[in-house]
Symmetry: C2
Subunit: 263 residues, 2 copies
């Protein structure tokens, strides 16, 4: 069992209730990363489901939970032959913090009938750059869990040279040896610095809601994350992330609606 598997573990209490323990190692300056929290919720929801693969997860982020004990309550809504539907709620002290609708199914390994390529090219890994290690007092513990290698222009904001467009692109793997799976993908779709940093915004950019789709089971190796946005307006922005595996297949697609930071 990897550290990530352990940090996302959900222990069945009864048919619809799971105990979880939110790990302080996934903090981004205090709040826990939304992708990590979705992975925790999915562990419970998939355990309770008749199918193995969470093909769709739509989450509302109501309130930032604190590290420590929490519960996931799963409410099965319908199970058909092809897919099953459930609601899952992350509760802390009895209060809902994340509300999700999750669809499960069984994905095969058929060849695609139609497949697009990545929406943006990536430079070779050796031309990519890492974020500087965060200072301990910033409480960016998430950084230590992941190995991210960025397309250099999309880190230009760090040195006062944002590209002027909402974008963020990087190769991604877990810091400890771990093959990507649907739970790692839940983390990956929310692992990039907010795309609005490249458009000149700064500061904590809270996710309001995020929907992601699992399109194929990822091959072992590096993932490629291509993040972009279409509109920054009135304090709101969209962030889309496509995730490609080492075999060049689209394995996940996400869109989140988030608030622009006041930083």
């Amino acid at each position: 069992m990897t550290k990530f598997d352990e940090a996302t573990q959900a222990i069945r209490v009864d048919e619809t209730t799971y105990d979880v323990c939110l790990d302080p190692g996934y903090s981004i300056g205090g709040p826990l990363n939304g992708g990590y929290l979705m992975a925790v919720v999915l562990r419970a929801a998939v355990d309770a489901a008749p199918f193995d693969h969470p093909v769709s997860t739509a989450s509302q982020f109501l309130k930032a939970p604190a590290p420590g004990p929490a519960q996931v309550r799963v409410e099965p809504l319908k199970a058909g032959r092809t897919a099953a539907f459930a609601r899952a709620t992350l509760l802390q002290d009895g209060v809902p913090h994340i509300e999700s609708l999750i669809t499960t199914a069984t994905l095969g390994d058929a060849e695609p009938d139609y497949a697009d390529g990545p929406s943006h090219p990536m430079p070779a890994p050796e031309e990519c750059v890492q974020l500087p290690a965060p200072k301990a007092e910033t409480n960016m513990t998430l950084s230590a869990q992941m190995d991210l290698r960025f397309d250099p222009p999309t880190l230009g904001w760090l040195n006062g040279r944002p590209t002027g467009r909402p974008e963020s692109r990087a190769y991604f793997r877990m810091a400890e040896p771990q093959d990507p799976d649907p739970y790692v993908l839940a983390l990956a779709v929310d692992a990039l610095p907010p795309v609005v940093f490249s458009a000149g915004a700064r500061g904590w950019a809270p996710t309001v809601d995020l929907t992601w789709h699992l399109r194929a089971l990822p091959a072992p190796g590096w993932l490629t994350l291509i993040g972009s946005g279409r509109l920054v307006r009135d304090g709101w922005f969209d962030e889309e992330v496509e995730v490609w595996d080492s075999a060049g297949r689209l394995v996940a697609q996400s869109r989140q609606l988030a608030r622009v930071g006041r930083g």
Copy 2:
């Protein structure tokens, strides 16, 4: 009150329950259109919410409801200063048919800080084409509610010449005079023929789940719908629709996961 306003009306029974009447005029060969059903759910959810604009709607389509009486049950989850969260369930005979998570907020009319253009150009309206009127026995009553003018290649599948890519593009307005609003946008994001028709697939392509975001309040006039997909695989496809208003602003973005028809 327009016919669409009437067909989507939700009458408050108590704090969390609304009576609705599903209109047979929104049928696509039997089942009612998913966008129409989302509009009905949103009428109730927005009425019960502290904010006016449904900025995010994530819906799971559990079961196709029949035309006739139904109920929407709204469960408020959290109301903050910027946004409020709720769950809404469409029930018929007490059975959940559509499950939704809805975020409401108040959108202003600020100029964008960053805005992309449409992802695909459209020909002039006078170069666009209409679908042939459906035969009465097909029960495609939805067609009569909307005026759609298609980018001609994206209707090539009608004559055995699909483009080979999942795509569908059209100008859209309601058939009766009606300015677009968030409820019309809920219909618009699911109004195009499935994008997989252009990739060679045929037949009923049921939506499994759909998430859409309201990004701005639409100006009066025609809307432009740009539909596309990235991956068709193992019986699943994604369909994204961006909606632009007559002032050239991105007003809605959607992605649905759906099943490929069996022809």
